[in-house]
Amino acid sequence: MAGTASARPAPARDLAAARRREERRTRALLLAPAMAILIFAASGPLLIVLAYSFLTPGDYGGVVWEFSLKAWFNVFAERDFFTGEIELADAHLSIFWRSIKLSAMTTALCLLIGFPTAYFIATRPRKTRDFWMLLVIIPFWTNLLIRTFAIMELIRNEGTVNSFLIWTGLIDTPIQMMFTEFALLVGMAYVYLPLMILPVYAALERFDFRLVEAGYDLYAGRWQVLRRIVLPLAKPGVVAGSILVFVPCLGAYVTPRVLGGGKNMMLGNFIELQFGQGRNWPLGAALALTLLVIVMAALIVYVRAVGREEGGRHG
């Protein structure tokens, strides 16, 4: 009798193990196409860029297959043409700094405008919310270049804003807005605003607004309800929105090109320059990888910082 009792579970265990194996195989097969695309489309080019960054630039663009650390050296430093002294590459660093600064400011501006907008939409009657979201999304369907030119039309010296201000008599000479960091900020905030509104709205739409009443009931004023109840619960949306805005801002190319001119170059334009007129592909590759590292570092720092405050879980 004892024999049967102990012998019984064994086949069951085998069956369970077999089923798990089977499941694993099915899952691997199902995942295979996606994994293949991810590997070849994402890490493939990345590996090529990595390889190029360690090669020597060709005279007319392209690369010569000769190992060199010069590109990486040039990312951060340069050798003085006359004295041969090594000094920091100020021009490069200021471009890095401007990119990071403007991206952070754009993200903050998008949050400042996007959060109230998302809150407004999420508190409308259910029927009208789709309409409001459509208003947010329609510009997003328009070509990036056209949207950027639209901003240009607004802020250039003979543009709408200046003409209006002169007409009202508030100013008599146009305010220079084009080709300034202000232009970049406005342009990028306008272009990337939907990327902030969408995830914040998604978080707020799931938010239980009865909690706001509970907050008021417990002596919290408007500001405290926002800070202690709404924001912590909308945090996943705010985090996602900030990442979605910050990352493309860092690499932005079209908007800085149109609105910033040559003076206010951002990383994206500088990298493009190396592959174009600069004819220094390895430097371009090294810069692109540096950008990638900055993005990842920024994300890690940000997510850590946000995650450390208590809360952030929903439902």
């Binding site: 239980d208 009865r210 909690l211 009443e213 509970a214 907050g215 008021y216 009931d217 417990l218 002596y219 919290a220 004023g221 405290q224 202690r228 109840i229 912590p232 619960l233 208590e310 809360g311 952030g312 879980r313 929903h314 439902g315």
Partner: protein
């Protein structure tokens, strides 16, 4: 003391206007367990929200100890709410939830900690202080919601059907617990329910509402034994309605003649007719069966239904209509009556209630 003076609330405007509260008048005393009872949609939550400050009444006044409440924002009122859905903050622990109100009032940190400890003890949740509110059971969430609302020591606690999500057993326990908390804290409780039994067992006084108006206010006994209107008699407990003729009325004492011709003394609700055709309400357990020829209303026994604790006798009255008599069962009394028998219904003087409408 909360005085609600002719409070009216109209939602919407024009053709879609809906009168959710219609000139509600009620005074709730200090330290009272006061219940708003009524069917779904009668305006109970709306009235509670007027007191909490989430609904502005279209007309009327609400005062607390003589101070105008309507002037104050919700976060300025010494009134806390236990929401029907509990509305606990999901990103905070049990203790943080309970301490939230105190913190917002700007109480010192150690006072907050001490009060939270006391509250946890009061609702017997000390062990779960550091759990997330999503990690505790429904009954426990209920207790946290209660502790959270009690912690800032409001003068009035509003409870919107706080027990409706709980299962039967837990409900019974929580009913006792609520009574205990009310007497221990001495806070005025205004309790909303649509469960008549809950209202009868817990309240000091009950206001029965229907279609935005209060139909009757009184102690549970008052309301049950002496319903003033057909709606109240019907909504609370089971009732027999008899057509009768009012012969005379003097204050609460009325002489009526039943359809069978028998005359009996009854109680009369305030207001209502002075003479003529009226409706008399009699609870099934307040009446009894008599041998034919002895009672007030002769008839034929049509059904005898055994319910364990009691037995229901359905009598088809000779004068028309049906009358139910409920009699408690005891093990030593075997019920000899059988359907088809001729019997009579009888009830004592001042048992029947002459309704207002």
């Amino acid at each position: 003391m909360i005085e609600i003076d002719r409070v009216t609330k109209v939602f919407g405007a024009g053709a879609e206007a809906f009168r959710a509260l219609d000139a509600v008048n009620v005074t709730i005393r200090q330290n009272e367990f006061f219940t708003l009872l009524g069917p779904s949609g009668c305006g109970k939550t709306t009235l509670l929200r007027v007191m909490a400050g989430f609904v502005d009444p279209t007309e009327g006044a609400v005062t607390l100890e003589g101070d105008d409440l309507l002037r104050l924002a919700p976060y300025e009122r010494p009134v806390n709410t236990v929401f029907q859905s509990y509305a606990l903050f999901p990103h905070m622990t049990v203790a943080e939830n309970i301490g939230f109100g105190l913190e917002m009032q700007g109480r010192p940190r150690d006072e907050v900690r001490r009060t939270v400890g006391e509250m946890l003890e009061l609702v017997r949740m000390s062990e779960l202080a550091d759990r997330r509110t999503s990690e505790i059971s429904g009954g426990q969430q209920q207790r946290v919601a209660l502790a959270r609302a009690l912690a800032p020591r409001p003068r009035v606690l509003l409870l919107d059907e706080p027990l409706s999500a709980l299962d039967f057993k837990l409900r019974k326990d929580m009913q006792l617990e609520l009574k205990r908390l009310q007497s221990e804290t001495g806070i005025t409780f205004i309790f909303v329910t649509h469960d008549q039994e809950e209202a009868l067992t817990m309240s000091d006084r009950i206001a029965v509402m229907n279609e935005g108006a209060i139909r009757q206010i009184g102690s549970p006994r008052d309301i049950y034994d002496h319903p003033a209107e057909r709606f109240v008699a019907d909504f609370i407990g089971d009732t027999n309605f008899l057509e009768a003729e009012l012969l005379s009325k003097e204050e609460a004492r009325a002489e009526v003649r039943l359809a069978s011709g028998a005359a009996v003394t009854a109680r009369a609700a305030e207001g209502g007719a002075e003479a003529g055709a009226v409706t008399l309400a009699i609870r099934p357990e307040h009446a009894d069966l008599a041998p034919e020829g002895e009672g007030l209303l002769p008839g034929r026994l049509s059904d005898v239904v055994y319910f364990g604790t009691d037995t229901h006798f359905h009598v088809d009255l000779d004068a028309g209509g049906r009358f139910v008599v409920r009699r408690q069962n005891t093990p030593d009394r075997a019920e000899a009556r059988a359907p088809g028998e001729r019997v009579a219904v009888r009830f004592g003087a001042r048992v029947g209630q002459v309704l207002r409408d």
